[in-house]
């Protein structure tokens, strides 16, 4: 780990001022400290924002939720408002990491967390995300865990967050605070696909601070849930995952929100699956038919072609779990 100076800020103006001077924000620290130890991250100044008043979960008009950026993953998952309105968020959070890490990590940090690509974490390997222009060792390397969707010739790393998959499905927005004031960015525009600049991962500007993630109101009743498929049963990142939220009234699917994790360079919304669901009646055939297009556009690598079939089955199973078979 490289030496760094440390400052703890008491309010958001102080945080923004320190951020503008090039300070790096630290909240839960579970990703940042780990990557600093590997010297993947080498901040010279850490700005501790853990004391900022961004820990509330509030209901918004119409039945949405505002989740403060510094709410711990464990607290968000256990919150009765989250559990009753959007089980998909609670389930995604509780299927992430370990109880210890969920006690530390915050929601803002969770969506900012960096890829688990082993070549990104290995400072001796070529990686365009860590060292732009150096190449991508994963393209010709061991790429079993890598992306089949949204990749480029520069980077094939997946985004590791489960909660971000739920947020993507639910049309969440990210609230950002900067020197010019507050702005909102739709979640689908917040996380960036790699293209030719995989080192640019978020639509956040230097010194900007995430203040909250907002979930808009959804038509009720809303059934939702998260399924995660991985190499071991717990405490592991997703090979594939599916976040599903359905509004079913009178036996007909009125709205459908579906996103997949573990397969894309960003959480992967599946509008083609959703289109096949809306206006139809739940049935096993419908789930299979809709999920059959979940991997459309996939470009598998040498070791991850299994994800093409696996993500379809993951989506199909989760549609059945959430939507039932009647």
């Amino acid at each position: 780990m490289e030496p760094f100076s440390y400052t703890k800020v008491a309010d958001t103006p102080a945080a923004l001022a320190a951020g503008q001077r090039g300070g790096r924000y630290i909240a839960g620290g579970t990703t940042l400290v780990d990557l600093m130890r590997e010297t993947v991250e080498r901040p010279t100044t850490l700005v501790d924002i853990a004391g900022l008043p961004l820990r509330d979960i509030t209901t918004t008009p119409g039945g949405g939720l505002r989740l403060g950026a510094l709410v711990r993953m464990a607290d968000a998952a256990a919150d009765p408002k989250v559990r009753s309105a959007f089980p998909v968020i609670s389930e995604a959070l509780e299927l992430s990491a370990s109880a210890q890490l969920r006690n530390m990590a915050t929601l803002g940090g969770n969506i900012m967390q960096r890829t688990r690509c082993t070549y990104f974490r290995d400072v001796t390997a070529n990686c365009n995300k860590r060292n732009p222009g150096s190449g991508c060792a994963a393209l010709e390397g061991i790429n079993r865990s890598h992306a089949i969707l949204g990749a480029s010739d520069s980077c094939v790393a997946t985004h590791p967050s489960d909660a971000a998959v739920a947020f993507t499905a639910l049309d969440a927005t990210v609230r950002l605070l900067g020197p010019a004031g507050e702005r909102e960015v739709p979640f689908r525009d917040f996380l960036l696909q790699p293209g030719a600049t995989p080192d640019r991962e978020h639509a956040i500007q230097p010194g900007e601070l995430i203040t909250a993630v907002e979930i808009p109101p959804h038509p009720r009743p809303l059934r939702s849930g998260y399924l995660k498929v991985r190499d071991r049963q717990s405490y592991e990142f997703a090979l594939t995952s599916a976040a599903v939220a359905l509004n079913i009234q009178g036996g007909v699917i009125r709205t459908a929100r579906v996103a997949a994790g573990g397969v894309g360079t960003v959480p992967w919304r599946l509008p083609a699956v959703e289109e096949r669901l809306v206006g139809r009646r739940p049935s096993d055939d419908l789930w299979a038919q809709a999920a059959s297009v979940a991997a459309d556009g996939a470009r598998p690598l040498e070791h991850n072609a299994f994800k093409v079939e696996l993500v379809k089955r993951t989506v199909e199973r989760q549609l059945r779990i959430v939507g039932g078979t009647k």
Partner: protein, 207 residues
């Protein structure tokens, strides 16, 4: 990734070298079975730090206030082991992947290896050394680990016990499946999982 359990990230201060092989072995052999204090080291003397890359921090560890000056890079795990001689807390992966370093901070179980000590101003830390209610009485979960024979080499045991205490406090002991899921952040290479679940189950009933 550093895999050498003896290699701290930060240079230990002059006290660190006094952590002997003997105390290391004693802590490992006893597992969570007894109150294992390190050598009588007092880390309260300020250590000179050359520039702004070090800080003074005051926190309560096992009921005792400690004021220490640390390199900002120092993890809570290294503060405990290398600076304060509290070697009951173990370093396994040093990357948040094994749970051997689990301690309670303000009552919540966390990974000591990913916690920067400098951030703990005013915090209350409980380690395996501070868990037992007295010299001659073990915490119910420590006793349960002995009763259930829930360890072999013992290296992961302090972390398992601290995590189990958190698991019980959080109320995630409704079934063996629930305990397994909520204890998954602690890896046991000896494979004592069945008995670890037994021990957590037993201690949860005591409450």
């Amino acid at each position: 990734m550093s895999i050498d359990p003896q290699a701290p990230d930060s240079p230990p201060d002059e006290l660190g070298s006094e952590v002997s092989r003997r105390s290391f072995m004693a802590a490992g052999a006893l597992g969570g079975a007894a109150v294992v204090a390190g050598p009588a080291l007092v880390g309260d003397g300020p250590v000179a730090v050359a520039d702004d890359t070090g800080s003074q921090v005051s926190l309560v560890i096992n009921g005792e206030r400690r004021t220490v000056t640390v390199d900002n890079r120092t993890s809570l795990l290294d503060l405990l082991r290398e600076h304060l001689g509290l070697t009951g807390t173990k370093k396994g992966c040093d990357a948040g992947a094994c749970g051997a370093c689990t301690v309670l901070v303000d009552g919540r179980r966390v990974n000591g290896c990913l916690t920067l000590a400098v951030r703990l101003e005013g915090a209350e830390v409980t380690t395996i050394e501070g868990l037992a209610p007295g010299e001659d009485r073990l915490h119910p979960l420590q006793q349960a680990f002995i009763d259930e024979d829930a360890f072999q080499c013992g290296y992961c045991t302090p972390g398992q016990i601290m995590s189990g205490v958190g698991c019980i406090r959080e109320g995630h002991t409704g079934s063996r499946e629930e305990i397994r899921e909520w204890m998954s952040g602690n890896i046991c290479r000896c494979g004592c999982y069945v008995k670890i679940v037994n021990a957590v189950e037993q201690a949860a009933r005591v409450k």
